[in-house]
Amino acid sequence: MLEVTELACLRGDRMLFADVALTVQAGELVRIAGPNGVGKTSLLRLLCGLAQPEHGQVSWKGQRLERTRERFHREALYLGHAAALNDLLTPLENLRFAAACHGLGVDAGRCELALERIGLGPQRDLPAKVLSQGQRRRVGLARLYLSENVPLWVLDEPFTALDVAAVRDLADWLDAHCAHGGMVVMTTHQDVPFATPMRTFDLAESAC
C-alpha cells in the first residue's frame, strides 16, 4: 500500500540515510527505530510528502506521491513534533480547524467527544496557552479519534508526555485501527505493549 524504494535523504550537507526500502500493508503497525539523529523524523516527513527525497520515491497504492497528492493527503494523517496548536484558540477550535483542513466533515459534537476521549473534556473551551505540555500533545492526538476512516497514520513520538492510562488507551486505539485495516507508521522511544504484532524497521542499518 505504502511503498518506499531506494529512498535517500540529504539534510543540509549530510546524507542521513540512503537505499531505504519499506512496504507497509493494510493492518500493519511499523515502528521506525534507530538512535537520535539518524533521521527518523526526516523519514516520516518524506513518507507523508512534506519533504522531497534526495533520491528514490514514495508510492501510495501503486502511484507515485507527486501524482496522487490530493488523494494521498485525504488518506494519510501526520502528527509531528509540533502539536499544530494555536495558543489563542481553544482545543475545540483547534481540533475543528485541523479536521476541516484535512477534509473530514466533522461536526462540533464529534470533536467534543474526541476531546473527552483523550481526557481533555474539561479544558475544551480554555485557550490553548494555559494547557500543560501533555495536554497540548493530547489536542493533536485527539485527531486520531476523528480519523478512523483515514487509512494511513504517520505518528512522530505519539506517546511522549502522556500518562500511563492515556498511553494504554492510545495503544488500544492504534490496535483497533490496524484491526480495521489501517496502517500505522510511527517512532517511539517507549515500550508500549500492542496487541498487533509490531514490525520494527531499524533505520540505523541504512544510515550513511
Binding site: 512534506l50 519533504a51 501526520y78 509531528g80 502539536a83 499544530a84 494555536n86 495558543d87 489563542l88 484558540l89
Partner: protein
C-alpha cells in the same frame, strides 16, 4: 473546495480579533508615520497638500510591510503550516484565504483611517475620495506580493529586514500609481487610468502571487 478557504479565513479573522492589539498597533504606526512628515517638512498648507498623497501611500506601504511577518510566522512555529500543506485541497486556496484575512485586518483599517489623515493634510474632498479608491485597489497587491516575500523569508534569521529588501522594490510601481492617481486628480487630468492600472495589477497579482507563495511555503517547511 471552498470549505478550507472559508475555514482558514474564519480562523484568521478570529485570531486577528483575539489579537486585536496587533491590528491597532499597525494602525497607530500608519498614523504616526504620516504625522511625522509635517514636522520634517514644515506645516505650510500648500506644501502639505502636495506631499499628502505620497506621504499617505508611503505610510500605508510601511505599515503593511511591518504587518507582513504575521502572515505565516505563527503557523510556521506551531506546526499549523505543516498541517495545512498536508490538506488535500490545493494550497493556493488557503494561501489566498490567509492573504485576504491579512488584507481585511491590516489594509482595511488603514483605508478607513485614511480620510481622517487626509483632513490633517488639508486634502480636497475629491482627492480624498481618489486616495481611498486607490488604496482600495492598490493595497491588495501589497498583501499578495508581500505574502510571497513573507513566505520566502519564513523562519530566517534577520527575516524582517530581508523581507523589506525583497518586497520594497516590488512595491514601487504601486506607490507610483497609487500616489499618482491622487496627483492626477489634483492636476485635473482624471485618475481613471491610474486606478484602472491598479485594479489590473491587483487582478494580475491575484492570479500569480498565491502560486508563488504556496511554492515558497512548501519549500520553507521542507
Amino acid at each position: 473546495m471552498l470549505s478550507v478557504f472559508l475555514e482558514v479565513l474564519r480562523r484568521d479573522l478570529l485570531l486577528a480579533w483575539r489579537n486585536r492589539a496587533d491590528v491597532l498597533v499597525t494602525l497607530a504606526f500608519f498614523t504616526i508615520v504620516a504625522c511625522l512628515f509635517p514636522f520634517g517638512v514644515g506645516a505650510e498648507p500648500n506644501l502639505l497638500r502636495t506631499i499628502a498623497p505620497g506621504v499617505l501611500w508611503v505610510a500605508a506601504l510601511l505599515a503593511t510591510l511591518l504587518s507582513l511577518h504575521r502572515l505565516f510566522a505563527q503557523d510556521h512555529t506551531d506546526g499549523v503550516l505543516e498541517q495545512l500543506l498536508l490538506s488535500p485541497e490545493p494550497p493556493v486556496l488557503w494561501v489566498l484565504a490567509k492573504v485576504l484575512a491579512h488584507w481585511l485586518t491590516t489594509a482595511v483599517p488603514l483605508i478607513v483611517a485614511a480620510p481622517a489623515l487626509a483632513l490633517l493634510f488639508d486634502m480636497t474632498q475629491s482627492a480624498t475620495m481618489v486616495l481611498v479608491l486607490s488604496l482600495l485597489l492598490g493595497t491588495p497587491i501589497l498583501s499578495l506580493l508581500g505574502g510571497v516575500g513573507a513566505a520566502l523569508t519564513l523562519g530566517l534569521r534577520g527575516g524582517g529586514m530581508l523581507l523589506a529588501l525583497l518586497v520594497l522594490p516590488l512595491f514601487v510601481p504601486i506607490l507610483i500609481f497609487g500616489a499618482g492617481a491622487v496627483d492626477a486628480d489634483l492636476a485635473g487630468t482624471g485618475a481613471a487610468a491610474h486606478l484602472m492600472l491598479l485594479g489590473g495589477g491587483s487582478l494580475a497579482a491575484l492570479a500569480l502571487a498565491p502560486w508563488a507563495s504556496a511554492a515558497a511555503l512548501r519549500i520553507a517547511v521542507e
